[in-house]
Subunit: 335 residues, 2 copies
């Protein structure tokens, strides 16, 4: 349910002085998430070294004279930053630096998200909705969730929406049909190069996508293009996706709050429960319908053998990621 | 008047791969200027060296799957970029580099805005509204306008809104009254350190600001803080104001299109006609009311001696700027 406009909602953003944070904050403060009547307070978390830059970002936010922005809280302590928050965008994560193995990256981020999970568990609103954007997002969400036993698993999610939007826009470009008329796309699995952008259920202008899009282009162009899009952006722009990631984060959270339109769905990373043969517990990109403030996996889709194989591949990667951080995953004590 | 939603409007942004451009484009494409029903086409202009980066920005815009964004045109030619545009945000300008005199900066930008004025004159919609953000914004607007004799002077404007918003937010912080309840602030003159943030007419919660704000703080803190805010942001953030400038540009253009609320006004740089003793012809920050798609200077304000002296100072600077580019200003052939 959208919150009541009478009192400000509290929105946390971590990595708030980074490029995605910078692209996200001004849209949040302008009302892009909750509309023009909902005042808000932004809670900004950064690492100590980035606090001076964060103060500059805060000055700019203030300089916008946004009528909805009632207050700004800046901190380098998760427990302060998450105090009473209704929504949390966990954007900050350690990027991979030269010579760092994927495994090392996983570990260093695991420690961050363990601490943030604990802080959310202690301090956030009991109805908090959490979106993990910082990579490796799925496993970071798993770690945060498992370290927050007093919150429900379904309050945590990880971002597949940028991949989802990229799939929509590529289909739109190919078919010359506006994105608003393309539905039922799913990006399954991990937000990594094993992700599976699935158009087998998709409708373009109410007709099956695969009747309009040849399968060679789908397999040999669409899927690898979406999987490798992040690298292509870095190459062209000289910097990684920031504004598009921020926009996808807003889309994800907005759909979660106000619901997905009837007859379509979105892609969200949520805790798997075994549906579609996915390992229970891991955070997995699924086709998801949102209604009444909740989300549920779309049931009963008939998957092709091709799709099953792709899903198995990204499932395997996520199980391996989980196995690399098992010691940071308290066994779930939830009911 | 807001445009009709039936056909896409065309919005040009120059310097589109720069930091202000990057902060502006995604808000434009999301509907922040003209609302959720108005489709749009973005026309992006960059210098040839920045075209690769611009293509990366375009990829990210596409990746957002914005339902309103119907097309993107990328060019390094002003005549292409301005073809048929309804709105133009002239953001790009040459920044001051080490060892460059203010006079040199003026000249190098003058050439850019002369060419852009000519291109707008030839190619833009006859109803185009133009906002100059790139510095020195006032004099750049003067040059562009004078090189576009077939467009009306009132179709050109320069940005004072960031200074205006900064003044509002500082007053809000000082008085602890929300920005939405503060009205009738003006930033007069040049968007430079001679600008005059004027709160002598301002109302805070319907009462005169100067009954609530002591004049020492107004003179010794508010005015210099607004005048020097850009430098303070650079110092804190390590980069110049980008998202706040983009936000102000949206505010400026939105008020121009939909009108300022009754009983209040905004600050816009527009061609002076002698009102309040300002040199006719120069682009000067004035208190401006917008209605029916037009703008007019608020008349009849009683200015203090203090205000008159401040206005004279910034007026003098703008006359000097104009005198430095006189050879690029065809004498106006307008009626």
């Amino acid at each position: 349910m959208p919150p009541s406009p009478s009192k400000p909602v509290r929105i946390a953003v971590t990595g708030a002085a980074g490029n995605i944070g910078y692209a996200l904050l001004f849209r949040l403060a302008s009302g892009a998430l909750l509309g023009p009547d909902q005042p808000l307070i932004l809670h900004l978390l950064e690492i100590p070294q980035a606090l001076p830059a964060l103060s500059g970002v805060a000055m700019e936010l203030t300089d916008c004279a946004f009528p909805l922005l009632r207050d700004l809280k800046l901190s380098d302590q998760a427990s302060q930053a998450f105090d009473g928050v209704d929504y949390a965008f966990l954007v900050g994560s350690r990027p991979r630096t030269q010579g760092m193995e994927r495994k090392d990256l996983l570990r260093v981020n695991a420690e961050i998200f363990k601490a943030q999970g604990r802080a959310l568990n202690e301090r956030a609103s009991r109805q908090v909705r959490i979106l993990v954007v910082g990579n490796p997002a799925n496993t970071n969400a798993l770690i945060a969730s498992r370290n927050a036993p007093d919150l429900a698993e379904h309050q945590f999610s990880s971002m597949m929406r940028l991949d989802h939007n990229r799939t929509l826009s590529l289909l739109s470009e190919r078919s010359r049909i506006p994105v608003a008329d393309i539905h039922r796309v799913t990006v399954w699995g991990n937000h990594s190069s094993t992700q599976f952008p699935d158009i087998e259920q998709a409708l373009i202008a109410d007709r099956p996508a695969l009747e309009q899009i040849d399968s060679t282009w789908y397999h040999d162009t669409l899927i690898p293009t979406v999987q490798q899009r992040g690298a292509a952006i870095i190459k062209a722009r000289g910097a990684s996706s920031a504004a598009s990631a921020a926009s996808a984060a807003l889309d994800h959270m907005r759909d979660w709050i106000v619901g997905t339109p009837k007859g379509t769905w979105t892609s969200m990373g949520i805790a798997a429960n075994g549906d579609y043969g996915v390992e229970p517990g891991i955070f997995f990109g699924y086709p998801v319908e949102c209604q009444g403030g909740g989300h549920q996996i779309v049931q009963g889709l008939a998957l092709s053998e091709f799709a099953r194989a792709k899903i198995a591949l990204t499932d395997r990667e996520l199980r391996e990621e989980r196995d690399g951080v098992l010691d940071l995953l308290p066994s779930s004590s939830r009911g």
